[in-house]
């Protein structure tokens, strides 16, 4: 009985939270993405979110590409299918691992900083102060972060794709004995535009998720430093989970045929 009651409570809490996030998302879209547009804020956020994530995303992609090449080589050598390494690395990176890993890394780096920054602004009444200065916090804070995330992530993933394939290439040619020309030719011949664009579409969706979860948890933080800490954790965890869930849904839609 007690177990059922607890289960019910959790389900109800989850539904309530979903409702609140939905309402927040609606406000973010309706208020945050309509004029007035704060271009200076968008630019600042692009720098903070996009440019400053380059290194993290690049390193992640590089090592992922390398590890992928090794694994696929080991696996495919069981069937004498080593020639597939280059093309499968490229596919894996562009379709799945590039966007997902970049999304998760950016969720950790950017989602947390958005939640912490807005959370601190909330508990120190800076968001209220914005309101009294006749500035809508959705337009000034949320909108620019959404725009910056949605623009940055596809660019980051595009770069991650290149670096990831390069990681595979370096491992392939330096330690697996592939011919450099053949590796590149294999990659280029096999890869289709769709593989890349599907990854970029995913990336844009992930960017949206990161911005919304960061802003939502930041806006709703309560109770001082502890509350901000909680908001930060919740932003990262929820955006990571939502990214993985969205990835699954998007994969099943984008690659239906």
């Amino acid at each position: 009985m007690n177990f059922l009651a607890n289960l019910g409570r959790v389900v109800l809490a989850l539904l309530a939270e979903t409702g609140r996030v939905t309402l927040f998302t609606r406000d973010a879209l309706i208020q945050g993405l309509t004029p007035t547009i704060y271009f200076r804020q968008i630019f600042d956020q692009l720098m903070k979110i996009g440019y400053n994530s380059l290194l993290v995303v690049g390193l992640t992609a590089f090592f992922t590409g390398g590890a992928l090449a090794l694994q696929i080589y080991l696996g495919s050598s069981r069937f004498n299918a080593e020639s597939l390494v280059a093309s499968i690395v490229a596919l894996g990176i562009t379709r799945e691992l590039g966007p997902v890993f970049a999304g998760i890394m950016v969720a950790g780096r950017v989602g947390s900083s958005i939640a912490a920054e807005l959370g601190t602004m909330r508990v120190t009444e800076q968001i209220d102060a914005l309101v009294t200065l006749a500035t809508n916090p959705f337009k000034y804070l949320v909108g620019p972060r959404i725009v910056a995330c949605v623009i940055s992530l596809p660019i980051l993933v595009g770069i991650a794709d290149i670096i990831g394939v390069m990681g595979g290439y370096i491992v392939g040619t330096r330690s697996l004995g592939f011919n450099s020309y053949a590796y590149i030719k294999n990659t280029v011949d096999f890869l289709k535009l769709d593989d890349v664009t599907s990854g970029l579409i995913k990336a844009a969706v992930f960017g949206f998720i990161i911005a919304i979860m960061g802003c939502y948890h930041g806006f709703n933080s309560r109770g001082g430093a502890q509350g901000v800490g909680r908001a930060t954790i919740n932003a990262v965890v929820s955006s990571a989970i939502l990214i993985l869930a969205a990835n699954f849904v998007l994969t099943s839609f984008l690659f239906k045929n």
């Binding site: 920054e117 602004m121 209220d128 309101v131 009294t132 200065l133």
Partner: protein, 258 residues
């Protein structure tokens, strides 16, 4: 017919969960007058001001400003309404990502779309009025002392020469001399701009100096409201206890209860 007061709150109620903070609060301020609200810690003074600004939505009651009902204003109407206000927050609430001068100029640049160079000049002028030199303008809020932050908050509140200004504890954290400078500044804003102001303070010296009228809040209601010069002869035990700062009296601090 006598003109309606500039700000009128009638029967405003607000509870946070089970905690009733405002319990049918009635108060009004005439245009161009300065009201000081006094009252113990946690009695709802800051919440009262926030309901007028729409930062906190009252559960019931009416708030009229310049003859218009303002509870529940939205969108552009709300922005227009808020652009008539200046507000000094109790904790200053400066934007810590912006240098001091941009904090002061924020309402001018973002709210009024003034060009940055002009807004900056005005910001520096307002900072001078609160005793801060132009070199402070380049610093970030985190680099200032608490009292300096308060003064920056004050400069930000008056930057746009608003019609209505709220000061939430303007002199707490300031030395007595600077406190008096700030008192003068508040008096001056009211005279020069004709602003209507509501100030919250625990500092009776400050209250006497800046108030035209004083209202005392207790348990979420106004229990006394009158001209500042009658506060010593109010005949109200609560007011007497408060202005003389006695631990004994009708107001029992929670800590004293056995």
């Amino acid at each position: 017919m006598a003109q309606e007061p500039h700000i009128v709150l009638s029967d405003v109620r607000k509870a946070f969960g089970r905690k009733h903070v405002l319990n049918g609060l009635d108060v009004s301020v005439d245009k161009g007058r300065s009201l000081v609200v006094i009252g113990g810690s946690g009695t709802g003074k800051s919440v009262m001001i926030k309901t007028i600004l729409g930062i906190i939505r009252p559960d019931s009651g009416s708030i009229r400003v310049a003859g218009e009902e303002v509870v529940g204003l939205k969108g552009a109407a709300r922005d227009r309404y808020l652009s008539r206000f200046g507000m000094l927050f109790q904790g200053a609430a400066l934007f810590d990502s912006l240098p001091v001068w941009q904090n002061v100029a924020f309402g001018l640049i973002q709210g009024r779309k003034m060009n940055r160079a002009r807004a900056r000049d005005i910001a520096i002028e307002k900072m001078a009025q609160v005793g801060l030199g132009p070199e402070v303008g380049q610093l970030y809020p985190a680099e200032l002392s608490g009292g300096m932050q308060k003064r920056v908050g004050l400069a930000r509140a008056i930057a746009a020469d608003p019609e209505i200004i709220f000061f939430d504890e303007p002199t707490t954290g300031l030395d007595p001399i600077m406190a008096d400078v700030i008192n003068n500044l508040i008096v001056d804003s009211v005279r020069r701009l004709g602003s209507t102001t509501i100030s919250i303070t625990h500092d009776m010296a400050s209250a006497r100096k800046i108030a035209d009228d004083i209202a005392m809040i207790y348990k979420g209601r106004i229990i006394w409201h009158g001209p500042a010069d009658t506060i010593d002869t109010s005949g109200n035990d609560y007011v007497d206890q408060f202005i003389h700062g006695r631990a004994e009296g009708p107001i029992q601090m929670e800590v004293l209860k056995p």
